[in-house]
Symmetry: C2
Subunit: 466 residues, 2 copies
């Protein structure tokens, strides 16, 4: 029986190679032309789970992409940890900003990653972080150190809003029943500052279409007399936030959870260097809701971002067109107590109401999810805390993240178990962006820390019982 | 010797076929991949000019596309009419809104065109209108009715701002010297209401780029804390017009020519049915500068239109990105006394000054041109007036158009001769739009009217001499 550090040292080259093989598959769920690649990624994950020690592995079909399931039950009386992750990835656009092709992984050292980082779409979000659990299982089974049951539920539609996971959970609740859900799909503050994500923002993702005249017009003959849908859309978007960067949709803030001064000052203790933040993003200044710090704006406050806009002539040179239509994709990040369906409706109602008579607007909701906050005085959190302390020699900081994993709220609702978000990525991983990467140090540190969660969780459950 | 009506009747099928042949060539000057087609269109026009009776035809090379020149000098002591037109066309995008492919001309009847209209890119703007002059020349030479000299200067870069025509004129001023310039690249009020365009708006065409962070970011992790360049661009665009749809760029209106009440009430006499206008465009309401009528907004007032906008994720589905960059193409139509170079500078200065510190902006000027107004108490206008009266049995209405032919001001400056804009298109021709078309009635009526201009111009010049 080997200790985990020795095992990682002896196998790390293989661990990296296996992840690279998975990263080569362009499993882009948003684009239906990659359907076959998405399926192939699912099959590879199933095989790897089997090799790592699962007794049962299965691809569960859904109306969309399959869910990979695996389990190793060592004793029905012992608690069960469910690992959730996803094998699908974001589209790589804009493709021309990648230094290397997004599905041809390369290892490169950077200032933050002297041991090297793997550059590829999905390296951090979430293939790399998900695969840490597969390798942690391998260690535990090969070395007889699995202290409780383990299940895997790895889906292929997280990047399109987990649209069929509710469908799956309704039909297979007993298959995935568990005592705690463990997810690695977030980041930690820094290599030196381990953290556990205790809050996620919700999401409401909308698409709007503004129609002016029934055809594209010559901007010389009609300009100034007929409403231009791009000008109108710009005005409508601009009006959604006031001069303090507060969202103007009536009722939007009604249910927003306001943190106490105490909570806010605790948050402010997290290490953060504003100048360094601006330098790394090459921005002259930050910008956000008046009265809140950058950390607060990015985590505990709701937002409204245009994720995409298009209309008219966008090619080379000039075309003097007054277009018939203009479009935007607009998403709002939500905080606890804001209901995403209610916010989507408020948005739609408001957007329709402010459109001038000179245009018509269509508003469609894409997907969404509820915000999530987990308490830190639970056995599950304690187990994660102890795992980090043992692996890092430091107490992890509970941290709210600005991102969303819409499915987490659903898990609590349907499976009645707590979720622990042990993320090993860094904010600088460029997830959803060109040149996404995942540090090799982070990858191996995750593989080292995960078995410790199992150890402490099993111990604490045992202690609670007795 | 035949009269023009008989000649047209006997030859109209061939006139239409020849135009259709020319319309099949995708001579898109904005897109360099059509370079060969642009050249081919020039060569076809040259051949047709020769066949129609020009003694000299030539392709003059420029740094861009060639200028087709042709002339028939019958007597050096007689006046010379210079025909200006263009053989290049606008890009056909959005291509999927065309009922038939843009370069496969079809003839279809419509409510406005019971005799049929030719549907193709360039049919009205400007191949069809330019080709009327070629066929008018054919009639005049074949029937010994050319009363003065004629020259043709047909360029291939009008749709990209006539960028090399100044260069050409500098070098070949003597070649194109003339006593009047005749252009058919505008429209008339309606079939029943002939009109002569006496004013054109100027143009300043800009492109802006807004850069936020140095890479695309995850909108969950950074949204709310880092300025989103699309949101910022929307705010900047929205701020360029106030609640009265007046342009807010400081100094923008300083030199705008205000029309007298008398001129405005004369303009208001032109037949215009607002309900019909709205119905044809399928809009709930018009929209424009407070205090001005729709006709005024479209002709005598300056404008600001976004011709294209793009940024972020514009594909299928959803991507939660906070993009690094957002772009817009923005053009302003100008009125007499506004200098387009000055306005471009005012725009640039203002746009840069209103950008928040959280982003950087780049502003580039594409091209532009001065506005133009011609007096109606000239011999040249009288000749056009008399031609319309003879062809239509009605006095034409002098009309200001909202469009721009930037080169017209340059002509007056370099060639010291008046320009007469005898347009035979209709506002409904959908120029610059999908399903552009040109009525066969309009095409033939143009061919009929043009020789009458020559007749009256030569007569009036002769009378003025004696």
């Amino acid at each position: 029986m080997q200790d985990i550090k020795t095992y990682i040292n002896q196998n790390k080259d293989r661990f990296i190679e296996e992840l690279i093989d998975l990263l080569k598959i362009p499993s882009i769920s948003a684009d239906s032309s990659y359907k076959q690649d998405v399926k192939r990624a699912a099959e590879v994950v199933r095989e790897r789970l089997k090799e790592a020690g699962c007794d049962t592995v299965e691809l569960y079909e859904t109306p969309g992409n399959p869910v990979v399931f695996g389990e190793k039950i060592i004793d029905k009386n012992l608690p069960t940890v469910l690992i959730y992750g996803h094998y699908d990835v974001q589209p790589p656009d804009p493709i021309d900003l990648w230094e290397k092709p997004p599905f041809e992984p390369v290892i490169k050292t950077t200032e933050l990653h002297p041991e090297g980082a793997i550059f590829a779409r999905g390296s951090s979000d979430d293939k790399g972080q998900m695969y840490m659990h597969v390798k942690a299982l391998e260690f535990m089974t090969k070395n007889d150190q699995l202290p409780c049951n383990i299940k895997f539920m790895i889906e292929g539609e997280e990047e399109v809003g987990s649209v069929n996971l509710g469908w799956f959970l309704e039909r297979h609740a007993n298959v995935v029943s568990n005592d705690v859900i463990l997810i690695s799909d977030t980041s930690m503050i820094s290599r030196d500052v381990p953290s556990i994500t205790t809050g996620l923002r919700g999401l409401s993702y909308m698409e709007v279409e503004v129609t002016g005249p029934n055809r594209d017009l010559h901007s010389g003959l009609y300009g100034g007399a007929v409403a231009n849908p791009i000008n109108v859309l710009s005005k409508l978007i601009a009006s959604l936030q006031d001069e303090n960067n507060r969202i103007t949709i009536p009722g939007f803030y009604d249910k927003v959870e306001e943190l106490s001064e105490q909570e806010r000052s605790k948050m402010a203790e997290a290490p953060f260097d504003l100048e360094d933040y601006k330098r790394k993003l090459a921005i002259g200044d930050v910008q956000g809701e008046a009265g809140y710090s950058t950390l607060e704006r990015g985590a505990i406050r709701p937002t409204l971002d245009v994720n995409g806009i298009w209309g008219g002539y966008t090619g080379e040179g000039a075309k003097t067109v007054l277009p018939s239509k203009a479009y935007a994709k607009i998403s709002m990040r939500l905080v606890p107590n804001q209901d995403w369906k209610e916010i989507s409706e408020l948005f739609q109602k408001h957007f329709e109401s402010i459109a001038p008579k000179s245009v018509t607007v269509k508003v469609n909701a894409h997907h969404g999810g509820q915000a999530y906050v987990t308490p830190i005085d639970t056995l599950e959190y304690q187990a994660a805390n102890d795992a980090y302390e043992e692996a890092f020699g430091k107490t992890p900081i509970p941290q709210r993240s600005g991102g969303s994993i819409p499915i987490v709220s659903l898990f609590e609702e349907t499976m009645k178990s707590k979720t622990i978000l042990m993320g090993f990525g860094l904010d600088t991983d460029a997830i959803h962006s060109p040149n996404e990467h995942f540090g090799i140090w982070n990858y191996l540190k995750g593989i080292q820390t995960i078995p410790l969660f199992f150890k402490h969780f099993a111990r604490l459950k045992q202690e609670a019982k007795s």
